[in-house]
Subunit: 550 residues, 2 copies
């Protein structure tokens, strides 16, 4: 068996190591265009910020180790230029010598990755307009900041954009963040990103939403970025983080199919239409585990897993890629935002019926010092309760809850199952009713009909005349510090005695701070014959939808 | 519907609140013997240590709130003395006035909890010999420490015992910990507790294992605890943390069945043999979710859940308790130890076939600063791979992995499913291959036959003459700093060239630091025709089994 692998980072390196463990006799050649294999893409922004001080830390492994431990034929600075599927050969260019040669294969794994998008705007190729994908990119950005760049415009508020912004602020660089969507972190639902937006602004980052860079001009000693609005921002450096496109040229030129967004198409064994040719990692199109629809998720975890699976299948194992959930996480200024599975916006886009709930629990027992708040949102099937997706934002412990929910999604669990999760509780770690249990209670109550909920953004979009009465059941003190428009206040402790103050011919939307008292109020009102529901997630969810409301 | 609930802490208070949400018309009486309802048992040790400074924080809710929010008839300092199941009445004593009266019920929920065990040894009732179960207990302990107790003996190294020890050390109290078993944290497997034992000793705690207190004597101004060994330890205070026994007297006197360890027996709806009488919380016997056998797990999470389920069933809902996994966690001196599902010792005791694996990963990407180590152990079905249990010990992130694995156990996942978990990865939070994935890879490799493993404690118990050759594939530097007895060293990078140095007529047990290079070496050796396996978990697992080996 002669196995040739194109690309030596996450998916390619994983495939090579796995292949060697499965076969000591196979000939395994790993081609990598760059000088490094298996480097830590996800760490690059932290090297800019100095959190990772030693560049060598970014090298997860080296060509030398792959050779000595795994007896791999590692060829860096070697670009695979063409594939001949019929003849089972690849054409390789040695980027050092310029020499071209062909190499035969029995099996070929394509792991070429993805390249940063560079939108075709004037000035995009000016010096000082950079992207961040590999060690050479990060060297250039770090050199610019070390060399005195004090004003940076970051275009794109996705995961990498936000990590870059945090690290630039750590370097005391004046930073502007430009995002085409009306929110930061576009994969998440907008209301979940409000705390992140507020944290960015509170740390002095200038955020321009619903804007793109129209052109970039070189002035005397500086760049000038012109936004759609006409605003011009002076910068020493512009960094693009607007997404990636699959490196599919090699595949396309070989006649292999790519999807509408450019991902190489593969079957569940990660084989292309030519069964001897596999493809893995950021370059491929995969199935979304929840929706069953094609998607592209350029993430390290699935890439590693795919490399393993391709090698397994080549060496005769039963191995299938189950699809991706798009589990992702980012830390920004002590906050964490994370998601897994299907967001509300994705479900709306594909027209899939769903319900959603919000909870705002503390990350551990409230009676133990240091409890930090979080928001969790679940989306789920309105009939069966099957969990579609989860998102979280907050302080400590968001990562844990998203990982639990990612596991639940893979297992096909319902929101009823979440009620029963037996998670580890001591006061430093969680609560007797964990945030995930709480979300399960609320969602199950909605489905069982015990806990009818209306969505605050839907209620507030109704005409004023026919809108439900907004009943605030918090204390007068809480009410005085901020409330929904035109709300009336009856504290939960007085509600049963004051039911006669409420209309019987109008819907009543109860709410409190996070939803718990609103739920109890809803139960009281329903049993007293009112047409009532709880505003899911309470005042806090309202503030996340309408952060600028006064 | 008239519902009477006996006990107002976790299970009882949860049942009462749930019942009110389901029915505004029910009459609900909550009897509690003590002065408080729903206090934070799990926080008590941290009030002794001062981490929780304000005693009011320990009151999760108050009788007043239960009355005003939930319209509950809360009667504290009220002891239910007897049940008449035929007449559906309880006899209640008002502990303030001494008055006795009867109260009728339609449904009765027993949530009396459990009482600390006081072993029948001489001196057990001396002043200064205390237990920790409620606010009155913690007041007494705190008063003693505040009043100058400088030497404390804690008997019992379970969860509460260890939390007490940590908090006493925080108060600069000289602390001795006495434990009957040969390990701390008896619910866990011994080798997992080695880091905890070492942390206790490094913080100056005197630990006496395989010892019990034989007698306690009062000397002049101090107590003296005599151990089985004959050793006498002077103390100002002795605190017992040797377990609890279900408060079952009320149930037994009413003719309700209790199990062999005293737990009130209930069906899956939490009904006793008298269908109008339910029982929940620490007082009951439940099914172990993994083994299907009866067990008792006095934990807050299941108690709360059971209270909810009993109320649901009473008010006509379909509700079942699925059993418990015994998920538990403790923090001691920056370390965390946690478990869920079946331990190795439990599986051995019940004779259930199983396999086990160890991994020792970092809690997040190694290239990002601050990565802390952990040990994870899985037990699983040798045929199907179904996960039986998991244990973890280490620094940050142990809680997250145990919660993920607890979720996997509830879902009936196998170790093959763990390979595919798509968990949240950014360098501060995890790794592209999360510790749970790693454990899944190793366990799946064992079951697929790719990765044969021998257990280090089993190999070292074999007679020297027939024992496998111990092949250390780490670097000479690592080898020089500590190795298994009689091991030979061939670094992994040289192994393929030096196969001729190895015997073909003897088993070869390869090992490295944590198992990864040992796995690769095993693959090389097997494919070269040797009879070889990896020592699971490598040198680090060896050190956890044999911490005192030199």
């Amino acid at each position: 068996m002669k196995l040739v692998i194109v690309g030596g980072v996450a998916g390619g390196a994983s495939a090579a190591a796995r292949a060697r463990r499965l076969s000591e006799t196979a000939e395994i050649i790993l081609f990598e265009r760059g000088p490094d294999v298996s480097f830590a893409n996800c760490g690059l922004p932290y090297y800019v910020g100095g959190e990772i001080a030693n560049r060598d830390k970014l090298l997860v492994t080296t060509p030398e180790r792959l050779r000595s431990w795994f007896r791999l034929d590692v060829r860096t600075r070697s670009s695979v230029e063409a594939i001949d599927p019929a003849g089972r050969t690849v054409t390789v260019r040695d980027l050092e010598s310029g020499r071209e040669y062909t190499e035969t294969y029995d099996r070929l794994i394509l792991a070429p990755g993805a390249a940063p998008l560079r939108p075709p705007i004037p000035g995009i190729d000016l010096p000082g307009v950079m992207t961040l994908r590999n060690l050479q990119d990060v060297d250039a950005i770090k050199a610019a900041v070390d060399g005195g760049a004090r004003r940076v415009v970051v275009v794109g508020a996705g995961f990498i954009g936000l990590e870059l912004v945090e690290n630039l602020v750590r370097r005391e660089v004046t930073t502007t963040l430009v995002e085409l969507q009306d929110q930061v972190l576009p994969p998440l639902d907008r209301e979940l990103t409000t705390p992140i937006l507020e944290a960015l602004r509170s740390r002095g980052v200038t955020v321009r939403l619903s804007q793109s860079a129209d052109r970039i001009e070189a002035g005397p000693g500086e760049l000038s970025v012109q936004l759609t609005s006409g605003e011009r921002i002076a910068a020493d450096l512009v960094i693009l983080g607007v997404g990636v496109r699959p490196e599919n040229a090699l595949a396309k030129n070989a006649g292999l199919a790519v999807g509408p967004r450019g991902g190489i198409q593969v079957n569940e064994h990660l084989q292309t239409a030519v069964p001897e040719i596999y493809a893995v990692g950021d370059a491929i199109e995969v199935l979304d585990f929840v929706t069953g629809l094609p998607t592209q998720t350029p993430l390290a975890g699935p890439a590693n897993r795919q490399g393993r699976i391709a090698a397994d299948h080549i060496f005769g194992r039963e191995a299938r890629f189950r699809g991706t959930q798009g589990t992702a996480i980012v830390g920004v200024f002590q906050l964490t935002a994370a998601m897994t599975g299907a967001s509300e916006k994705l479900l709306l886009r594909i027209g899939r019926p769903f319900r959603k709930v919000y909870v705002h629990p503390a990350h551990h027992a409230g009676y133990y010092p240091g409890a930090e708040g979080m928001t969790l949102k679940l989306t789920f099937d309105p009939e069966t309760g099957r969990l579609f997706g989860a998102q979280g934002v907050g302080g400590a412990g968001v990562d844990k809850r998203i990982d639990v929910l990612a596991t639940a999604i893979q297992a096909g669990m319902t929101v009823f199952d979440l009620e029963e999760l037996e998670l580890a509780y001591a006061p430093q770690y969680g609560s007797a009713k964990d945030p995930v249990n709480m979300a399960g209670f609320v969602a199950s109550g909605v489905l069982r009909g015990d806990h009818p909920q209306w969505d605050v953004e839907a209620v507030l979009s109704e005409p004023l005349a026919s809108r439900p009465l907004l009943l605030d059941v918090r204390t007068p003190q809480e009410f005085s510090q901020g409330r929904l428009p035109d709300a009336v206040n009856i504290p939960i402790a007085e509600l049963r005695q004051r039911l006669n103050e409420l209309p019987r011919d109008r819907r009543i939307a109860a709410y409190c701070q996070v939803g718990q008292r609103g739920y109890l109020a809803t139960r009281v009102l329903l049993q007293a014959g009112f047409n009532a529901a709880n505003l899911g997630g309470g005042y806090r969810t309202y503030r996340q939808f309408f952060p600028d409301a006064r």
